[in-house]
Subunit: 360 residues, 2 copies
């Protein structure tokens, strides 16, 4: 939790809610928050300042971005994804196919297979999570995007387990659309708003499937007919959550003082140290690295495969080691480079080792 | 702003974000907040405890509810609304029609006409805002719902300028679907989450157009295929904004101590006093009631038509009278029965009168 959260909340409560009331949208610049947050995230994901906004949640942003991409490739049939993609990503895509009147359908790559070879002239959109939420396997963003474009397909990337942890360069990789959540490595707080990215070349042609008044060209004219706002603003829906945006800003302001390259180097250092210590300290007790061994093939977290994972997890949490379970046997350690220290990795490993050495 | 907001925020920041982190979803009952909020709102809108949830914003909830209603009447062509409906309501409906492959189209009633006569066997959904956001004209919820059902059509009501101010009885009126915002008379704070209502008879058949993981039958099983949760939970999308929900709960907890009938009687008293005083004190200076004279035809606010409305508004705001402008000449006064006193109405009228008597 950023230290400035309380100060910012007090500001939005008193100068905002209490004193400005609905005028806070202007006097307190609440309308600008989705863009201000986007501008601050942009350098971390290699986007332009005007190519990113924060709004809604990841599921809704996936829905908007995938629908927009499909509309730009309406003559093509398939959404190519992998069956290992996160649930909500798959549900959203299947729902859009079902409502397409037979125009679009899903095509699934098997888990951990290079799907570049499956991209063809019938592929409308390649639709993937950059990082697997279980084992942290990371796709090659640039290579897959290149392979998609070579076949005339578009890409929609979900950056949820990557943004704020590993280096991403959306414009250099020429990514069309992307989304991600704000509450993992971006430290935006519980249920923080999500973000979405639209490449500048699509910002005038991409259409929002949920054309709300906040995305209208002249929001306060209350026109009876929708006219999309210029640029990425059109992907706003309705009223945005001011307090959630304010808290997310407390986090994203921190990044302004940090060189992205230094942050990603820190993450790499933490991640490689953890792999080294897992091999050396935990392998003798039957715990194994369940994430790729090559750093460039990993995302923000590292997964450890252990027996009796649920019991081990409970003990770790009780002893202050932050982690989470993906059944049946994966324990995930999120390596947030902003706050986590190398000594925390050493201490965490010592605790895991102690638990494995002395099972209940 | 409810007095308990700061205490609740401190709880969610320390016991939640700082200490529980992602386990807060369970330990701090964050997953239950959308339902807890719904249960507390239910008595104010005549809904059952399990028929309402808070999530997303009004535009997105309109999108979900209208899409669900259309799917239940897919063989019928028209969405019947009025051209005076709020912008976002119209944009959402037009977008759903455009994407229906010619199946659905809009039909517009003229402003302030009884549209019951326009409902016919081709009408899929009657889709209205209960209260007009400009002049506060209120439809007859029960009569229009009855007329729609008589023709086999469904209804989707937007309760945004009504909920928490005037008596609404959704189940007695047999309403199919409804939505509303949380930041007006419900005092949920800037950008508060919105609510949605689904009649129990549709809760097993209505389908969400945005099937996110939070609406899955077994959210934490991470199944590759979507199975809708039982009941209204299926209309959740992705991760919900915990801090916004917490603040909205601070407001909705207040209602637990209040008899809805007493609240609505208070609103009626405030509203009728304001009309009386407008007629007596302001009419001589050219300001006129722009809302219906009959209380049952008015919503939460009262609109006053004045010359030089923009100048008058600025002076009112400077002198502490809360109001808002709808161009060219309407000034709106929201009568929040929870906090507003009769003396505030008297004082406000005295201030308006003074400004009208002494124009700059």
């Amino acid at each position: 939790m950023p230290k400035s959260v309380r100060r910012k909340l007090e500001q939005v409560l008193t100068a905002g809610w209490r004193d400005s009331r609905s005028r806070g949208w202007f006097q307190q610049h609440w309308l600008d928050l989705p863009f201000e947050l986007g501008r601050r995230l942009a350098p971390l994901i290699g986007a332009g300042a005007d190519d990113v906004i924060f709004c809604d949640n990841t599921s809704i942003n996936l829905f908007k971005m995938l629908a927009a991409a499909l509309a730009l490739r309406s003559e093509r049939r398939f959404i190519l994804t992998e069956s290992a993609n996160f649930g909500t990503d798959l549900y959203i895509a299947e729902a859009l196919c079902e409502r397409s009147g037979g125009r679009h359908a899903m095509r699934y790559a098997a888990d951990a297979v290079d799907l570049s070879a499956m991209i063809d002239s019938e592929t409308a959109v390649v639709y993937l999570s950059l990082v697997d939420y279980r084992d942290s396997r990371r796709h090659d963003l640039a290579a897959i995007t290149r392979a998609a474009h070579a076949q005339g397909a578009l890409v929609v990337w979900d950056l949820s387990h990557a943004a704020g942890a590993v280096a991403i360069d959306l414009l250099t990789a020429d990514v069309d659309f992307a989304v991600g959540c704000g509450y993992k490595y971006l430290c935006g707080g519980p249920g923080a708003p999500a973000f979405l990215f639209v490449h500048p070349r699509w910002q005038q042609d991409a259409v929002s499937i949920i054309p709300g008044w906040m995305g209208h060209a002249d929001m306060l004219a209350f026109e009876p007919t929708y006219r999309p706002a210029a640029g990425i603003r059109r992907f706003l829906t309705g009223t945005s959550p001011v307090l959630a945006n304010t808290i997310a800003l407390a986090a994203l302001e921190i990044w302004a003082e940090i060189e992205p390259a230094a942050l990603f180097a820190k993450h790499r250092g933490l991640s490689e140290l953890l792999v080294q210590l897992i091999d050396r300290e935990l392998a003798p007790f039957g715990a194994k690295l369940a994430s790729p061994r090559d750093y460039d093939q990993r995302g923000g977290h590292i997964a450890l495969a252990v027996n009796n994972a649920e019991t081990v997890l409970d003990q770790l949490l009780q002893r202050g080691v932050q982690c989470s379970l993906r059944k049946p046997q994966l324990i995930r350690f999120g390596l947030a480079p902003l706050g986590l220290r190398y000594v925390d990795v050493w201490d965490g490993i010592a605790t895991i080792k102690d638990i494995l050495q002395h099972p209940h």
